[in-house]
Symmetry: C2
DNA sequence: TGACTGTATAACTGCACAGGAATACAGTAG
DNA sequence: CTACTGTATTCCTGTGCAGTTATACAGTCA
């Protein structure tokens, strides 16, 4: 369980925390989850997620700023697509961690 | 970039988001970073991080509730230790993602 | 040109939460 | 018992941000 400690500078901690924060919203995870199937327009995402248009735009802006998705304009439409596949691994890891945690909690109860 | 879409239930999204949120604070990442070197008492962590005692206790409580660390009481002292090594992978992944992002931003500027 | 569609951007409100101060609690020592 | 130490918890305050509404902007079509 012990690792070589590589102390991180405050600025680095802020950066990492900031990016985790982008993933720390159900709405944004929902958008990413839909985008995992491929490129979508804002309108598609509004319809699929049930979120209103302004909200979707803002969430996508945050995801894009963090580099998780990228934007492509085509006429009136804006197409968004996953730009960093590490989000898949991040979410998978987190889901596995949750499964382990729930398993422990279950053992503690029964 | 396209994957098989496995739609997640709202409750699942909340869970995943909630755990990302625990990692979305510089102070907690700092604590985890120190704990990567091994088990520490609250006092150790207060001294190492410069955070005040109440803050450290509260952050550790959140980390423990999420299952990232676990607590062991010994006399007056409370020893905390990393309980889920996936935090290492999560942070490594995030750091790599940041490096890629910064590399892209750099290319876009120069 | 003007009307319309898709998207982005204010401006506002409410809430969750980090940080700090004070206090409560548990364990030890005398 | 009392005094003290290490840790947890409560209360308070300020701030960041999600959600909503309204509006602005950009591109298309007549």
């Amino acid at each position: 369980m012990t690792r070589i400690a590589k102390p991180l500078a405050p600025a680095a901690l802020e950066m990492v925390a900031g990016r985790f924060k982008v993933l720390a919203e159900p709405a944004r995870l929902h958008l990413l989850n839909v985008l995992m199937a491929g490129e979508r327009t804002v309108g598609d995402l509004v319809e699929t997620t049930g979120l209103n248009q302004a909200n979707v735009s803002k969430h996508l802006a945050l995801l894009a700023e963090a580099g998780f998705v990228s934007r492509r304009k085509e006429g009136l439409h804006a197409w968004y697509v996953i730009a960093d596949s590490s989000v898949f691994k991040l979410c998978d890891l987190m889901c596995s961690a949750i499964a382990r945690k729930l398993g422990k909690d279950l053992q503690a109860v029964k």
